[in-house]
Structures are given as C-alpha cells and as structure tokens.
C-alpha cells in the first residue's frame, strides 16, 4: 500500500538469470525467496517460493487455518492461476541434459514443478486443504478467472469457502517469447502513454480467502460483486481491435452484479502498455463507461505479472478501497491524446466505492471482476 501511495515503481533493468535482453522487469529480490520446507523439497522452484512468500504475508495463513477449522479441510476449495508454473526449472534442466542420452537430470521433478497443477499441489499442502482444487491457466487472465470458478463451486455446494489467487514467476520462455513478439519495452513500461512501446514483465503471487456473504457483514468487508468472462474469437496474441471481447467481459460483470456502468468509480485496467492492448481496451471501456469511471493501469509500478496479474490487481483495488485512494499510473508521462477514458496519472485521494479489475490474456481470454466494500 505504501509503495502505491507514494507512486513508487518496482521495475528495474533486466538482470534475471542469464537473460540478455534490453528490457525492465518487476523482479522479486532473491533474498526474499526463502527455500521451501524440507518436506516439500521436491517442489523447490521459483514459482513455489514466490507462492510461499505471499502466503506468509498479512496473517493469511491464520485466516485460512481459521476457515479450515470452521468448515473442515474438505470444504475449503482452492482455485489458483498461473501461466508458466515452475517452467524455469524445466528450462534449467534442459541445460543439464545427459550428453549421450539427452536425458534430463534425475533431480528434475515434473509433477512438483513443471506441471501447471504444481502450484495447486504445493499450496494445497502448505495450507492443509483437501477440498476441490484446480489450477486455471488462461495466460494473463488466469488468476482473475479463479474468482468465477470459486463462486460457482461454492454456489453448487462443492465447498463453503475458497482460497483464490495465483503465482507467476520470471522465466526465460516469457522473456524471450514476448521479445520474439516485439512486445517488450526497452524502458519501464508506460501504460496509456503516447510513447508507450511495450510491456515490462513482472512476477508475483497473491491470495485471497472467499466466504459466502452473510446478511450483515462487518463494515469494511470486501465483497466480490460480479464476475464477467468472455473470449475474443479474434487472434491468439493480439486483442480484438475494437475491444469487443473485453467489452463483453465488463458487461457480463456488471450484469452479474445487477449494476450499471454509472455504479463503478474506479477501473484498474489491464493496461499492458502495448500499442494495441491499450487502444483496444480504451475503446471497450469508453464504449461502456464513457468518462464516468476513473481508470488507471498499475503495471508501470508492478510490471505485467502475467498469470498473477488478476489477483494482484484485485488486491490493489481492495487496497484502494481501504486506503481511500485511487492509484495513478507510475511511469506514464504524457497521456496518449487519442485515448478517451478518464485516465488517472497521479494518485487521487478519493476512495472508490466499487471497483472493476480487468484482465485479458493470450488466446483472447478475458475476465472482469467487480469489487465492493461494506459500509
């Protein structure tokens, strides 16, 4: 919260592993990524270390332990998102192949690191949960879509509470992959800037505990008001130019909450700082909201957390509501005059009552979440 309130950016020139790329990254300092407990040594990888770091913050372990006691371990679901799980581990193993046979080193543990569910397995064990569990992997919308799955599973009676969230960690595939698409900025990314020229990749993890709402919740309780999901049906790696899929996701989120665009104060945009994403999202948001909602992308501060972006930016919306501010757009200098939404450059000292968080991913996978807070 303090970093957001002071407008600080965590982006640094890329010095990750052996990557030789002229770009900036939002890298979590290695000294913070402690080893996993000995019993979980097989799951040792950067992604699970990041997850472990996030689980240890803000009394989250205690909150989950409380829910586990209250509902029972089998009645607490786990819905996590990641795009690349422990892929870095596989990249490193490919450098250590046995010369004559090409075999991967014996220490390589596919299930505990590379498999997309490795994150789910690790967190399930860390939290002692035995309810329904799944890892959703829809690229950059992954850890937003987990909210939709969790809500449906609770409504269908499969669990009483749910841990949602996700983790995505830096790896060479995403760094060199986005470089191959010419989508990496050489500077710290500048969402909605007239000179924006691509993304800065970040890494992170975040978690939240969802419970069924009661008629009278204590003041200050965060509410998930609505979820909207859609597909672009356009292209694998570039958004629909008119933002048609994004608009459908936002519209569905509003409909599921029985709200209209006028009810939303703040939108945390997907705002990756590529030319095409920001232009398409601007069209979609402007079509639906005009200039009634304040908008910003916080990726200039965090970088693009890919599969962890949804949970991270949902938590940013929650921080904005409880910290009574709207976050501006770190690194954005000059707003692109061709973009029309009401874009916030510097922090505003005004608490949003209801906030939307947008997450859009490769494969045209879109998700919008609506958050509120009881008064």
């Amino acid at each position: 919260m303090e970093a957001l309130k002071s407008g600080r950016s965590g982006l640094v020139p890329c010095n990750f592993e052996s990557a030789r790329l002229d770009t900036w990254v939002g890298q979590v300092e290695d000294r913070l990524l402690g080893p996993l407990p000995a019993a979980m040594a097989a799951a040792e990888c950067r992604n699970n270390r990041l997850a472990q770091l996030a689980l240890g913050q803000d009394g989250f372990l205690d909150a989950v332990a409380h829910a586990r006691r209250r509902y029972g371990a089998r009645r607490v679901g786990l819905f996590l998102g990641t795009s690349t799980s422990g892929l870095l581990q596989t990249e490193l193993a490919y450098r250590q192949r046995e010369a004559s046979t090409g075999a991967l080193p014996d220490a390589f543990d596919y299930a505990a690191t590379q498999n997309t569910f490795s994150l789910g397995r690790f967190v399930q064990m860390q939290l002692g949960l035995e309810g329904p569990a799944v890892v959703i992997s829809t690229a950059c919308s992954s850890s937003a879509k987990v909210f939709g799955s969790a809500v449906r599973m609770m409504a269908a009676g499969l669990c009483d509470a749910a841990v949602v969230g996700g983790a995505d960690s830096l790896c060479l595939t995403t760094l060199y992959g986005f470089a191959s698409l010419e989508l990496l900025s050489r500077d710290p990314c500048r969402p909605f800037d007239s000179e924006r020229n691509g993304i800065s990749i970040g890494e992170g993890a975040g978690f939240a505990l969802l419970e069924q709402g009661q008629a009278r919740e204590p003041a200050g309780t965060f509410q998930l008001l609505g979820v909207g999901e859609s597909s672009d049906a356009h292209h694998m790696s570039s958004p629909h130019p008119e933002g048609a899929g994004a608009r459908a996701a936002m519209q569905r989120a509003l409909s599921s909450a029985a709200l209209t665009s006028k009810d939303i104060d703040y939108i945390n945009l997907h705002g990756t700082a590529t030319r095409s994403n920001d232009a398409a999202e601007d069209k979609a948001v402007y079509d639906l909201f005009g200039t009634s909602a304040v908008c910003s992308s916080t990726k200039g501060a965090t970088g693009h957390l890919l599969g962890a972006a949804g949970i991270a930016e949902t938590i940013i919306c929650a921080l904005a509501m409880s910290g009574q501010f709207m976050p501006g757009s770190a690194n954005t200098r000059r707003l692109d005059p061709s973009l029309r939404v009401r874009y916030l450059l510097a922090n505003a000292k005004q608490a949003p009552m209801r906030a939307m968080s947008n997450s859009f991913g490769f494969g045209g996978s879109n998700c919008s979440l609506l958050l509120g807070r009881t008064s």
Partner: protein, 264 residues
C-alpha cells in the same frame, strides 16, 4: 449436481470417434490400439490450421464431434478445456532453443505454448465470444474439468462443452512424465433435459474409500490409467451402454467423484 448429456466426442489411439468407439467401450467389439487418425481441422482458417499441433487438433476434433448433433448455436456455448500437459512438443522446442546459444523462440510457438491455446483456436474457429476456461489438475484433470463444467452448467443454467485432451511428450520429457497414447474426449452438457439429451449424469464428490472404475480390456485399462484424459473412458463406457451405471473417478487427496448415469 445433475446435468444432461447432449453430445459426446472421443478420439484416441484405436478410438476413431464416439460412434465408432461405442461398441469397443461396451466390450461388444475388440479394442485394437492403432495409430491416432485425426482428420485436418477444416474449421480453422488455413493460416491458423498450419500453426496448430496435435493437441490443438485433437481438442478441436472431439469438441466438434460433441457438438455435431446439436441444434444449439455453437458460438454461444461456454467451454471448459482441461489437460494435464497441454502441448508438450511446443514446450520441448522452446526449452531446447532456450538451452542453445541463439535462444530464438518463434512467436507462433510462444503463443501456442499457453495452456489455453486450444481454447483460443476454438473461439476463433467457432467465432465464439462465450466464456471459456482452461485448467489442469495433473492426473485428475478430467475429473476437475467435469466438476468445473457441471458447476457452471447448474449455477449459470446454461449448456457447456467440456473438452479434455492429453498427448504424450517427446523425449526427454516423456521419460520424466510418461503419458500413454493420445486421447481426447468431450461432453456437451445441459442443465435441463431436451429432445437432444440421451443421458442424465449425477455427479457427487465422495471422501474416498471406493476404488476407481477400471476398463475390462487390458489395453483400454492401460490407456485409462496412463493418460489423464483416459480417465474419462469408464464414464464414456457407461454412456455407451443401454443401462444405468455408476462410475467412480479418482480425484485429489484420495477423494473420488461418483458419476451415476441414467439413459433418457
């Protein structure tokens, strides 16, 4: 959770479509493991078709078969794609080039490496903006996909297509994660009975204690136990038969999914 089956898709080694495979699944015809036969995905524009590998083609194929008899408009049906390993060939090629000096990653390969690549091509092929999710639960990916699809179906009161697919990795990943054969399976599920529904499913989670339903044929059992999508075969076998049946699917933490099927 109660849902109704309106369509099934199945393709795998020695399993050439749902219609052709029904008698094999019930044991009326012998199962002969044979090379996977996969027609080209005509539904994709030629440029996109060239960019797709086996897992995407397999997922599209079974998804389309499940929709083939349906009168529902295909561009409004929500979907769940589930797979343990997604596209292993793409993963292998990217890791191989990153281990080399040049580190040249092809842009197409990179965007095909996402777990939701089949869902992306599906929405492009069918021009569908309907909600779609892509998930993984390692060995239990089919069971997790079935739960996700049923929960969507009953809470949103809308039809949904479940597509499950798993294809072996190339070496050296195959040695670290062997997957038996290639299998794709799909179910078109609806919240209410219609003239198109041919079976009712009652899906429950159970804390465990029951052993999973196995395939009687040893070669089919190898496919069931060795391929995460193969875990769907006992359920498809029950749907292929004329009588009510109960199928037990393995799930996380020793739990199971019990699926009661009732022809209608």
């Amino acid at each position: 959770m109660q849902v109704f089956v309106e369509g099934v898709g199945l393709r795998g080694v020695g399993l050439n479509g749902w219609i052709a495979s029904r008698s094999i699944l019930t044991g009326a015809a012998p199962y002969v493991p044979a090379e996977l036969v996969l027609p080209p995905p005509d539904v994709l524009p030629p440029a996109e078709r060239r960019r797709t590998g086996l897992p995407i083609k397999l997922a599209l194929n079974v998804g389309l078969e499940a929709l083939s008899g349906s009168e529902r408009s295909s561009d409004t049906i929500a979907s769940v794609f589930t797979s343990s390993g997604a596209d292993g060939q793409v993963l292998h090629q990217i890791c191989e080039s990153l281990a080399g000096a040049e580190r040249l990653v092809s842009p197409t390969r990179f965007h095909n490496s996402v777990h939701n690549a089949p869902a992306g091509y599906w929405s492009i092929a069918l021009r569908s903006r309907a909600p779609s999710t892509s998930l993984c639960c390692f060995e239990y990916s089919f069971a997790a996909g079935l739960l996700e699809a049923c929960a969507y179906c009953v809470t949103e009161a809308e039809a949904i297509l479940l597509v499950s697919y798993d294809v072996p990795y190339p070496e050296p990943l195959n040695a670290a994660r062997p997957i038996a054969g290639s299998v794709g399976a799909a179910l078109l599920l609806a919240p209410l009975a219609t003239s198109a529904s041919f079976a009712r499913l009652d899906v429950q989670t159970a804390p465990g204690g029951c052993s999973p339903t196995r395939m009687r044929d040893p070669a089919l059992e190898t496919l069931r136990s060795g391929n995460p999508t193969g875990r769907a075969l006992p359920l498809l076998g029950a749907l292929a038969g004329p009588i009510a049946a109960t199928v037990v699917l393995e799930y996380l933490c020793g739990a199971t999914l019990t699926v009661a099927t009732l022809p209608c």
